[in-house]
């Protein structure tokens, strides 16, 4: 894939997704899996999970692995650049004009509505992923418990991800050996 195309994809993803790393997933998926069909959904999700397992800015981690997978070092560079420029320029603009943004109310209205849009697409993604991946009722219980722990407690999401992964690993393995 052309690195400049990757730049433009991640530029739009980053400029539009309010809510950070997770909110980006359905938007990137639409480009990479549905529109350009350069990765299968499974491969796409492998990139997403790899990005979560190491520290760093998740959005940048995702852009880097995806870019690298699709067009090497150049792809990684341009994807990260596309990801950084929108928030950088938006925050710089706000920091510069902070006290006298006349249209701040409308700006606030836009993002208040856009966050609902992000919730909607994330909810849809959650449903789709459950439908596709949950082949055992126990998985659903583990998923529900880990979502609950992350939402209601301050336990780190990575800790929850890795420990639920261990439990699921043994179930998957058990199923396989049957």
């Amino acid at each position: 894939m052309n690195p400049l195309k990757l730049f433009w994809i991640f530029f739009r993803v980053s400029a539009l997704t309010i809510g950070g790393g997770y909110a980006m997933i359905p938007v990137i998926k639409e480009f990479i899996v549905d529109k350009f069909k350069v990765l299968e959904e499974k491969e796409f999700m492998d990139v997403i999970v790899t990005a979560q397992t190491v520290p760093g800015v998740i959005a940048i981690n995702t852009a880097m692995i995806m870019g690298h997978k699709l067009s090497g070092i150049k792809g990684a560079f341009f994807s990260v650049l596309g990801c950084v420029i929108p928030p950088f320029s938006i925050i710089l603009t706000i920091a510069f004009f902070f006290s006298n943004i006349a249209s701040f109310e409308l700006f606030e209205g836009f993002f208040s509505g856009a966050r609902v849009g992000v919730t909607v697409i994330l909810a849809k993604l959650s449903f789709d992923l459950v439908k596709k991946n949950v082949s055992h009722p126990l998985y659903l219980i583990i998923i529900a418990i880990s979502a609950g722990i992350i939402f209601f407690t301050s336990i780190s999401a990575v800790v929850v991800l890795l420990s639920s992964c261990v439990v699921i690993y043994f179930i998957v393995k058990g199923e396989k050996s049957k």
Partner: protein, 177 residues
């Protein structure tokens, strides 16, 4: 030199920011408010609400904002580069590690488990953003309409975000939110 200090501080933040975004928030607060005293706690809370309203990862938003306030444009450049550099280091390490591991163990099985496990995180993110953003009847109605449109018309997710944003502007104009 302040620019170098900004770079190092945000490099440290990126290096240990496990789980991204809100997980990193307490580390960011500790480094820039408590340790370096670059901004006060009120300013920090303002920064969080700006970050929640605007697109982009919260770590990059804070780096740019704090960098600019402390040392102008180049300060924001140094902090932003500082916060993303660890990502680059970590990703290089994990990709190399995966390559090595895939020869020895069945990484397919691990990835299969991770793909299932991550659904819990995505649902938690949905709940987090949902409960933070759906705060009035207007938002509920907007959410329901958005969901129906997404299911029925297969509209691009970008359009869903843009259209709900525009609906938000109208909501603000006629004082519904």
């Amino acid at each position: 030199m302040i620019i170098f200090e900004l770079f190092i501080t945000f490099f440290k933040i990126g290096m240990v920011a496990f789980g991204g975004g809100y997980g990193a928030l307490s580390i960011i607060q500790d480094e820039i408010v408590n340790v370096n005293k670059w901004i006060g706690i009120e300013e920090f809370l303002d920064l969080i609400s700006i970050s929640q309203m605007t697109p982009g990862p919260i770590a990059i938003n804070s780096a740019t904002f704090v960098g600019y306030n402390i040392a102008g444009f180049w300060g924001s450049v140094a902090s932003t580069i500082g916060v993303i550099t660890p990502s680059i280091i970590w990703i290089v390490i994990i990709l190399k590690l995966l390559k090595l591991l895939s020869k020895k163990i069945d990484t397919d099985l691990i990835f299969k488990s991770l793909r299932i496990a991550i659904i819990g995180l995505i649902i938690a993110a949905t709940l987090n953003i949902g409960f933070g953003s759906i705060v009035s009847i207007f938002h509920i109605v907007l959410g329901i309409i958005g969901f129906i449109i997404l299911l029925k018309f297969k509209l691009s997710v970008i359009w869903i975000i843009l259209l709900s944003g525009i609906a938000g502007i109208f909501g603000k104009l006629i004082n519904l939110i």
